[in-house]
């Protein structure tokens, strides 16, 4: 009983990578993109991954989110061994546990703002998708834009819709890939505020890939990716080897 109470007091692990390695075969050579990554991210943490272009940030994000596979090593997402799951099982896990915010918004052009937001909820089989969608739309300040198509929205508005979409399934983990890089500074800042506000509100684990040091500073932890190797810049809670 005591052990059980102690266990519940210990931080819960959201993401764990052990000796993660990613290589790709080029025409005449084998390129190592990620080497020996060990990483643990606890639930509710906000983690920024920074690094130069081509350092492997996005590849790491793809693997941690179950979009990509590892060459060797182990990856756990919400306790599930991603490295052992096939494409469909990873998709189901994403539907249940993961939300995304992309640099170029990636809204479906044929769906309205509201429909874009409710899409992941419908895919996950959530019943009150529309009600949740309207609530989130109001949270991101776009109530009036519910029936607008992406092409009728500004870049900032599109990203707000994308953020609302990311939170609709109340995911355990949110992955954000350069969420404000395509926006001007003022809009970008508003988007970042919104992202962190919703994250805090829902207690989501946030993994954010960015070039922007100011944005990275807003996260509890910052990890630096350089030539496929990951180092902790401001270790606080998790462990990085």
């Amino acid at each position: 009983m005591v052990k059980k109470i102690l266990m519940s007091l210990l931080p819960k692990i959201a993401i764990q990578a052990k000796a993660l390695r990613k290589e790709v075969q080029l025409t005449d050579a084998r390129l190592t993109i990620l080497q020996q990554i060990n990483l643990t991210i606890n639930s509710g943490e906000t983690v920024a991954v920074v690094g130069a272009s081509g350092s492997g940030k996005s590849t790491l994000l793809g693997i941690l989110a179950g979009l990509d596979t590892v060459s060797s090593g182990e990856v756990y997402l919400a306790g599930q061994p991603l490295h052992q799951l096939d494409d469909d099982a990873r998709a189901q896990l994403r539907a249940k546990e993961v939300g995304f915010v992309f640099q170029s918004f990636l809204l479906l052009p044929s769906l309205t703002a509201l429909e874009n937001i409710t899409l992941p909820a419908e895919l996950a089989g959530i019943k009150d998708a529309t009600a949740r969608g309207r609530k989130l739309l109001s949270d991101v300040g776009l109530t009036e834009r519910a029936d607008f198509y992406p092409s009728q929205l500004s870049g900032g508005e599109q990203q707000r819709v994308a953020i609302a979409r990311a939170f609709i399934t109340e995911p355990a983990i949110l992955f954000a890939d350069e969420p404000s890089a395509n926006l001007d500074a003022a809009t970008g800042a508003k988007i970042e505020d919104l992202l962190f506000a919703l994250n805090e509100q829902q207690g989501t684990t946030l993994v954010l890939v960015t070039h922007n040091p100011q944005l990275a500073q807003r996260c509890q932890r910052q990890l630096n990716m350089h030539a496929g190797e990951l180092t902790e810049l401001k270790p606080e809670v998790g462990d990085v080897a």
């Binding site: 494409d87 469909d88 994403r94 995304f100 044929s110 769906l111 429909e115 895919l123 092409s151 870049g155």
Partner: protein
């Protein structure tokens, strides 16, 4: 759950117009097949009905025995329409005038097909009727002149006397032979018995005429089989006359056009599906990143394709049916007596085309679309959805399958398919070389042209594919355009304006200059005079030929319309007999005999030598007639003595070889001639033709009569009466009616060909549109980048135009090259036409490619070029 999402995405995409391109392409494929098959079938059935008009029925049973009423009863029980017809030759008398005539006695239901027009006088406002009445006869107008009587007067036929009820203005089954027969008399079949012309042993042609649908006619054929004897024979439509061969060629053309239409439609479907997949790959990556499995993504997009296919197939079927009904209506208006027939074949073939195009052309890109990795949301890497090997193989098989189903001709579809494949491969090679050459060519050019050439080179494979599609579409259009022109001109050459429409037979030596004089006085030109003498072929290499080959009956039957004249008992009793027989023989020597020998040609495939069994008309000439062609040996020169040139089919029948000696008998005098050449004769030429042409030295001592032909304008027909009076022994045979019918058919078929050409051209244009639209999104992005970099509208316009101009010109040149090659093959192999170069093709092909592709490119991209930069940027980014 996926169904909800699929349905929502479907309606949204439908509203946004995303699915319309693919829907349009599938609809086009179905529409092309339904309308082309429908129109082709309508034209075919109209032409066949038209041909039915030539025999005044759908099917005829010919017999030399009296009518077996049981056969008519069977037909009536089956719901078929029936008519009786008897044909014989006899003399008619009016006062002191007499004339050998060809009598056609018919039941009131005659004609079952076509129109009979009887007029109460020769005046334009004369009252008309369409059926024969008892106790009256109707005459060919020239017979009134010959007998010197008028309408309302009476004449004697056999032992009966009849009132002349009127003249025959139109007779559907008028003889098609150049040398018709004696003037026609039309009477009621029930009046024949009273004339007592029909005696035991009389040579009467009996015809059972039937009309109804094809299947019932086949049933009848089976049912009455036990009732038939060796004296009965079914008559099929005449396919070897000038009209018949025109119809054959037209059918082949329509078939070819249909096949080419299918290839174009299939290309459009494949292009549209690839384009759709290309545009949707990011959406798939997104929904997969959001948790959709590949299987579910596949279900979502497959359901879209299924819904679009269903919608497109139904729409295509409706529109196609509407188009073919429109064509049927047009044919009905045009022909007057055309009976549209519903056929389900175009519909099921269209639906099948839609399903095959959707599954084998469109399903593959959709299948690949669902396999787009979710990771692409991070990589933002676009995959290429150009045709892959799998799609090429299945698509190729599908095209072949469709061609086969459509044509029902395994050989033709395979041949055309392999040809298309070879062309595609050749084009791909040529395109690759040319596009690679674009780099050195770009050096020293203006920057707009440089950009255009760089664009071409950068998208080498997509451009090669585009180039192939463009070239194929242009090539198919050019092929059809030129074949159509070729066919029409060949037909018109067969019956050129001013072709002889009157033939004069039985001219003696003394009358020759008088005839020439008469014609010259009337500003008319006489043709060549062909000397003629009747003779028998007795021996070949001293081996006696059988007197009769047992086919006389057949010949009599198959040529009943043309050569019954002069062979009845009644005719044997009168002094005109010789003339009548001669006419019949001449008829055999021309068109009719052409068919006759072709029939016997198959029967005599062995080496057994068959006799001719009757006299032939022999002629002797110094020069080879224009429409004859030597196929073996040599035409005799001035010094050659005792030689003969033989028509090739007759030579086959007599098992002749060059150098053989033929023994003839003319007027009881025997002589021999050596076979020096074999000739191919164009029996469709409506010119005098002969089986045997002798060297002039042989015939010097025989008395001959002459045959000539001339063109008589309609307004001078009175001259025929004058001729009949001045030269009573000369027979004037008019072929005006045949020429009119042939010209009529040519005009109708030409129109049908034009309609189909327009349809195929439209299909080609739509393929081009689909292809250009496929690149719109990419172009939008490029334009946004170039605009951002400061490119001016004029510069961009020039670059776009130059790119399309280069593509159009290349496609035009390729299409021209290939069209010239294929035209040569089709011309010589399929249509048996002589080879000729198409100089016009060399400017029409490249010009059309340039104008069409430039024009379409400009039309489709114009709005993009006019967009302000910020709008362009926003569109490109979203």
């Amino acid at each position: 759950m996926w169904l909800n999402i699929a349905a929502r995405l479907f309606w949204r995409e439908l509203r946004r117009g995303e699915l319309w391109v693919i829907a349009f392409a599938l609809c086009l494929a179905v529409f092309t097949v339904v309308s082309l098959t429908g129109i082709t079938e309508s034209v075919r059935s109209a032409l066949s009905q038209r041909s039915s008009n030539f025999i005044a029925a759908d099917k005829i049973l010919r017999s030399s025995l009296p009518f077996n009423e049981q056969i008519f009863q069977n037909a009536e029980q089956l719901g078929l329409k029936t008519a009786k017809q008897m044909q014989f030759s006899t003399m008619v008398f009016a006062g002191d005038q007499m004339q050998l005539v060809s009598v056609k006695a018919v039941s009131p239901s005659y004609p079952l097909r076509g129109r009979l027009l009887l007029k109460s006088s020769e005046q334009a406002d004369a009252t008309t009727s369409n059926t024969v009445v008892k106790d009256q006869v109707f005459l060919e107008p020239r017979l009134l002149q010959l007998l010197n009587i008028g309408i309302g007067d009476s004449l004697e036929l056999g032992v009966s006397r009849f009132v002349v009820g009127g003249i025959i203005a139109e007779e559907p089954d008028a003889p098609l032979s150049v040398f018709g027969n004696a003037p026609r008399v039309l009477m009621h079949v029930d009046d024949v018995a009273a004339t007592e012309v029909v005696q035991p042993g009389s040579r009467i042609g009996y015809r059972y005429q039937f009309a109804g649908d094809t299947n019932t006619l086949k049933t009848l054929e089976q049912q009455v089989k036990p009732l038939l004897t060796v004296h009965d024979r079914w008559q099929s439509l005449d396919r070897e006359s000038a009209v018949g061969s025109a119809l054959d060629r037209a059918e082949k053309f329509l078939l070819l056009a249909g096949l080419l239409g299918i290839v174009l439609a299939a290309c459009a479907a494949a292009v549209a599906a690839s384009q759709y997949s290309q545009r949707h790959q990011m959406a798939v990556a997104v929904i997969k990143a959001l948790g959709t499995t590949t299987a579910m993504a596949r279900r979502i997009y497959a359901s879209h394709l299924a819904m679009v296919s269903l919608f497109s197939i139904v729409t295509g079927l409706l529109l196609g049916q509407l188009a073919s009904s429109g064509a049927q209506w047009f044919i009905e208006v045009w022909l007057g007596d055309y009976r549209p027939e519903f056929s389900s074949r175009p519909l099921w073939l269209g639906a099948l085309t839609g399903v095959i195009c959707a599954t084998l052309f469109s399903a593959r890109p959709i299948w690949r679309l669902a396999a787009v990795p979710a990771l692409n949301v991070l990589r933002q890497r676009a995959l290429s959805f150009q045709l892959d090997l799998w799609q090429l193989v299945t698509g190729g098989l599908a095209i072949w399958l469709l061609m086969w189903l459509f044509s029902g001709d395994w050989w033709l579809s395979s041949w055309l398919f392999v040809l298309c494949l070879a062309f595609a491969a050749l084009l791909l090679g040529m395109a690759a070389v040319l596009v690679r050459l674009a780099k050195p060519m770009a050096a020293g050019q203006s920057s707009a042209l440089k950009l255009a050439l760089a664009n071409l080179r950068r998208r080498l494979w997509p451009n090669s594919f585009q180039l192939i599609t463009f070239s194929l579409a242009l090539f198919l259009t050019l092929i059809l355009y030129f074949l159509r022109a070729e066919l029409i001109s060949q037909w018109q050459q067969q019956v050129p304006a001013g072709a002889p429409n009157q033939f004069l037979v039985n001219i003696n030596e003394a009358e020759k200059p008088q005839i020439i004089q008469l014609l010259t006085d009337n500003q008319l030109k006489a043709g060549d005079f062909y000397p003629m003498v009747s003779g028998r072929v007795l021996t070949v290499n001293n081996e006696k030929l059988p007197e009769s080959d047992g086919r006389e009956q057949d010949a009599e039957q198959s040529n009943a319309g043309q050569s019954d004249a002069g062979q009845s008992n009644a005719a044997q009793q009168n002094p005109e007999r010789q003339k009548g027989e001669q006419q019949a023989d001449i008829a055999d020597n021309t068109l009719a005999a052409g068919r006759d020998t072709q029939n016997s040609g198959t029967a005599s495939s062995g080496t057994r030598r068959e006799g001719i069994g009757r006299e032939l008309n022999l002629t002797w000439l110094h020069t080879l007639p224009a429409n004859n062609q030597i196929v073996a040996g040599q035409w005799f020169g001035a010094e050659d003595k005792a030689q003969v040139s033989v028509e090739e089919k007759l030579a086959e029948r007599l098992a002749l070889e060059l150098g053989d000696t033929i023994g003839f008998s003319v007027g009881g005098q025997p002589f021999t001639a050596t076979v020096s050449s074999f000739r191919k004769v164009d029996w469709n030429s409506l010119q005098p033709n002969f089986f045997m042409i002798l060297s002039p030295d042989l015939m010097q001592n025989f008395p001959a009569t002459y045959l000539t032909a001339f063109y008589l304008p309609k307004q001078q027909t009175a001259l025929l009466n004058e001729m009949a009076r001045s030269f009573p022994t000369i027979s004037v045979l008019s072929v005006d009616n045949i020429l009119k019918q042939v010209n009529d058919i040519i005009a109708q078929v030409s129109l049908a060909l034009t309609v189909i050409l327009v349809l195929v051209f439209a299909a080609a244009v739509l393929v081009l549109v689909a292809q250009v639209q496929a690149t719109l999104e990419q172009r939008e992005q490029e334009l946004a980048i170039l605009r951002t970099l400061g490119a001016k509208t004029v510069f961009l316009r020039k670059a776009v135009l130059a790119e399309f101009a280069a593509l159009g010109l290349m496609a035009g040149v390729f299409a021209t090259l290939l069209a010239e090659v294929l035209l040569a093959v089709v011309q010589m192999r399929l249509f048996q036409l002589p080879f000729s170069l198409h100089f016009n093709l060399w400017w029409i092909g490249p010009g059309l490619g340039l104008a069409l592709i430039c024009g379409l490119g400009w039309l489709l991209l114009r709005h993009l070029l006019q967009l302000p930069t910020p709008v362009l940027l926003r569109r490109a980014l979203s």
